[in-house]
Amino acid sequence: MADAEALLAQSHVLELAQPLALDGGQALTGVRVAYETYGRLNVDKSNAVIIFHALTGDQCVASPHPITGKPGWWVRMVGPGKPIDTERFFIICANVLGGCYGTTGPASLGPDGEPYAMRFPVITIRDMVRAQVGILDALGIEQLHAVVGGSMGGMQALSFAANWSERTRAALVIASTARHTAQNIAFHEVGRQAIMADPKWKNGDYYGGGKGPDKGLAVARMAAHITYLSEEGMHEKFGRKLQDRTEKTFGFDADFQVESYLRHQGLSFTDRFDANSYLYITRAMDYFDLAEEHGGRLADAFRASKARFCLVSFDTDWLYPTAESLTIAHALNAAGSPVSFVELSAPFGHDSFLLDVPALDRVIAGFLKQ
């Protein structure tokens, strides 16, 4: 793994000077945005790239996770000589608004010195982007070389390209969608209800006193995790194999490996994520409908954009399947934008964008090279 020195990794926290006007009508004061940068901003400030993170991601795209110590979530893509080349680009990755890694979220203290908890306003994907545009303003970056994102990161990239159209020359959107479908919303609602059903959630006021709603959050993560994998991927990895035993126990232990795996995923997630953040961020995703923001016609969202677009989907992704990327691509075509679209073949379902898919490396490197 490339060390921090080679990456020129730096951690920053920006406090926005102005209140952040939110789509919900409220204005949030004293917003802090935690972000990492990699590489060097060139003299004319033309080589900056924002990477937007996904639902449970964070700003440590290529540096070790502050809690788990695991390598950055996209370290295979970001680094010297890698597809998103830190020797060429100045990379910015910020924790989203509503998050729990330093950017203002429900666990942050409100003006009265108490954690916001459920008094935190409901936010949107566009609000998340708004907060990150604050970083560009603070750094004096007029226009980005590109915005890049997978999954919820792709939604932010689309929102950025649509609403701050003059501020990026390119947008790369991977395994994403222009709107949450009923099925997407349904899965999120299962997760939220699991959190809220946990007695330790206490209407969100669990900060300060012992453990939060870990059981509920773990169940939410388990349900969501299933949507990130493909059926055949799961079958190949686990099949009906039993966990550390030769016979079924005729009980409700984690007999099957897939159960054990999911329980582990759920449990370890609670070490690194705030349950209220999970509520707010999933809500923002559910509210996302880029066409709705632009009079109901998706093409109209991109009329003002002069950016190049590249959309990538994966054949085994059933969370944001290829049809969603195609809808965006067709809207961009109708708007006359230069757009590329490709469906890549990979066995890992929605998570493919984070995993070893060499074709994705080629597409990203090639698209950003221009």
């Binding site: 190049r308 075509n333 109708a334 757009v339 590329s340 490709v342 090639g366």
Partner: protein, 196 residues
């Protein structure tokens, strides 16, 4: 840069500079790159093979993964000055309908295809009674993507039946030009420029 395939070179030479082009079945984007770099053409592509699409994106080209048979419908009328279909017509399910679509999305259309009436093909059928495997048609009948073989004469008939205008026609054997009169049996490749 490597030299363009002869039929693509003909097309590249006859596209007006600065025009808008849709290259359907653009492969690795060689023609689009040549048009962009040599003639400041705004070139867009469509290609079925994801590896080729990735290759195009890596060249900085705008290419949609898609199928000539089904996906041209997503483009608005007259969105392009030219629609280009090179070496692809004979692989489509309904070449006649694809031709209609080409001249809907493009004001003009370049169509190039291997001539199944070439004398080698005729000889192979005549003497051996078998579907030919030649330099330009190197794949056996059971696995060839060319499901609608077409001759120069067939194509001229279709153009006439559809009342299309032939704005230009070029016939090639290797990279040599063949006269219109001899094209039916001597041309390996045909390139037509059509309008409605």
């Amino acid at each position: 840069m490597t030299a363009l395939r002869p039929d693509l070179a003909v097309i590249a030479a006859n596209v007006a500079p600065g025009s808008r082009v849709l290259d359907i079945g653009c492969g690795d984007g060689a023609l689009m790159a040549a048009l962009r770099d040599g003639k400041q053409v705004d070139a867009r592509g469509m290609e079925l093979d994801p590896h080729d699409v990735a290759e195009c994106v890596a060249k900085g080209l705008s290419v949609m993964q898609g199928d000539a048979d089904s996906d041209l419908i997503d483009y608005p009328d007259a969105a392009f000055d030219y629609a280009i279909l090179s070496q692809t017509l004979q692989t489509t399910k309904r070449p006649d309908q694809v031709l209609d679509e080409l001249l809907r999305v493009g004001r003009k259309a370049f169509v190039s295809f291997p001539n199944f009436g070439h004398w080698r093909v005729r000889a192979s059928l005549m003497w051996h009674g078998r579907m030919p495997v030649t330099r330009l048609l190197p794949v056996a009948w059971y696995e060839t993507p060319n499901i609608h073989h077409v001759t120069v004469s067939d194509f001229r008939d279709l153009v006439e039946a559809k009342h299309l205008t032939v704005e230009g026609a070029w016939f090639l054997s290797g990279d040599k030009r063949i006269s219109d009169a001899a094209a039916s049996w001597r041309a390996e490749h045909a390139v037509f420029l059509l309008s409605r």
